[in-house]
Amino acid sequence: MARLRSLLLMDTEVVAFRTIFTKEIVRFMRIWIQTLVPPAITMGLYFIIFGELLGKNLPPVNGISFMDYIVPGIILMAVITNAYGNVVASFFSTKHQHYVEEMIIAPIRPSIIVAGYVSGGIARGIVVAFIVGIVAMAFTEVKVEQPWLAGLVLVLTASLFSLGGFINAVFSKTFDDISIIPTFVLTPLTYLGGVFYSVEILPALWRDVSALNPILYMVNAFRYALLGTTDVDLGLSLAVILAFNGVFAVIAVGLLRKGVGIKS
């Protein structure tokens, strides 16, 4: 009987998860001009300016043309920004307009709510990755040497930054608060995460400092999956990404369970 009850509960939660996930996809697809078009334009500009105009005069990096070298990092940059932006904006609105209460009063575990939002962020990250990949094809031949690894890194990166967006939304009190982390944390870390250069060219001190930047591991793991070259050991990269995902997931679920920023 208890087993049956737990199975029923699982069914209930599968439906609840699907509801949140579907709602999130409908949300970003409905406003596609705000969610899917900007990364295509922004990243297209990166390809034109850094890849075409400046990159032509730069020497190959690790034997790869500069344009090809920056493609994985730029795709991942778009994934990071969009996965993060999707969840932080969506969950903050949910909180701000109080319709988070629809979920809080329902028989859904906090982990299911977090999973629903994070999956929405991952979905947007993947869609944006494809869009930016297609844009990149206009400039170079996009290679994917290890599709499964590329998919895994893409999903884990999107998941990590979706969790980050969720945590930011929990603590945000105003719409201004949701732009603080992207401005002061995400953008610097992304630019310093080896998107446009190999950390091998940095002085030893800055190479060591860069090792503290989690985005470096993601960019390099993704670059390895696409081009077969990396500055960082793949195993270490995957371990770092997984560890950050684990820590962020525990924090996000814990915050929601306690009702931080939601319950008084």
């Binding site: 599968v14 509801t19 949140i20 307009q97 319709y99 209460e101 009063i105 008084s264």
Partner: protein, 303 residues
């Protein structure tokens, strides 16, 4: 039979040390239509927030149809439908989607939820608006949308926190008819409202809460019998210069044709008519100054 709701020693102290709820013990029987009344800031909404898991309690227990909200939270929450005081839906979402999503949170698959949503929207007169975004609805429609949303998972306990605030009289009446019918079909209803006349008309039992504690509770009829004094307003046919003196009754002239008479509970009102008749004053209409529950309420909360 287990009660629909049982609160024991419920307390809530906010971070700013405000004691909003200071030890509430309350039972609401299954099938009841129950009024939880109190002045602003009395602790009603805090208590409701705790019951619905929107507010963390400081201490005490809450059981919904025998399910503890801490240990059997999923079963307890599945029993509750809430119509909150403030609008709390996504204003950019179509009406029907709001209901279908809400059903989804309770584990109701989309194909079933669609039927449930149709049923609720038809009953509350919102079917024509099913594709409209919630933002475009009038205030009354938004209230009805929240009722439809609270009912879409067919809760056994429906909690209505000021459901008719800002709703015009016609819609209020139709909403109360709908609530009565919902209650008749077996749903237990707990209501908070500032329209005490409505509470008196629809509720069978009542609890009055003030400064975080329940100061009176029982069935409506018994409580109203505790009313010591009622004030009646009389319209008279001739212009009066001063309030006529009636032995045993306090009278006050409101205007030349309107008289207020206070009647202690042990006295009847026949003597008023006899006294006025003897003075040649004919009473044209008679009504209560306030409804009886309101008088009781004001007497209890000392206002």
């Amino acid at each position: 039979m287990v009660p629909a709701l049982k609160l024991a020693g419920l307390k809530k102290v906010y971070r700013n040390r405000v004691e909003a709820v200071r030890g509430i013990d309350l039972e609401v029987a299954q099938g009841d239509f129950f009024a939880l009344l109190g002045p602003n800031g009395a602790g009603k909404s805090t208590a409701i927030g705790i019951i619905c898991s929107l507010i963390n309690k400081t201490s005490g227990t809450v059981q919904v149809f025998g399910h503890d909200i801490d240990t059997e939270w999923a079963a307890a929450r599945a029993c509750i439908g809430l119509v909150p005081q403030e609008f709390n839906f996504n204003v950019w979402e179509p009406v029907e989607e709001i209901l279908i999503n809400q059903a989804g949170y309770y584990g109701i698959p989309r194909r079933v939820a669609r039927g449930r949503a149709e049923e609720a929207l038809v009953e509350l007169g919102l079917w024509d608006k099913r594709r409209a975004v919630a933002r475009s609805l009038s205030g009354g429609m938004k209230r009805r949308l929240m009722i439809a949303r609270a009912l879409v998972h067919r809760p056994r306990l429906l909690i209505l926190d000021e459901p008719t605030a800002g709703v015009d009289i016609e819609i209020r009446r139709s909403m109360w008819n709908f609530m009565r019918e919902t209650n008749r079909q077996g749903t237990t209803i707990i209501l908070t409202t500032h329209y005490l006349e409505e509470a008196e008309n629809v509720c069978r039992r009542v609890a009055i809460i003030d400064r975080g504690v329940i100061i009176e509770q029982g069935d409506m009829a018994t409580l109203l019998r505790k009313l010591h004094r009622e004030t009646f307003v009389l319209s008279v046919d001739q212009a009066l210069g001063m309030a006529p003196e009636l032995e045993g009754y306090a009278t006050r002239l409101v205007d030349a044709h309107t008289l207020e008479v206070e009647v202690e509970s042990e006295r009847d009102i026949n003597a008023i008519f006899r006294g006025l008749d003897a003075m040649g004053i004919r009473v044209q209409t008679l009504r209560n100054k306030a409804n009886r529950l309101e008088e009781l309420f004001l007497g209890l909360v000392g206002k």
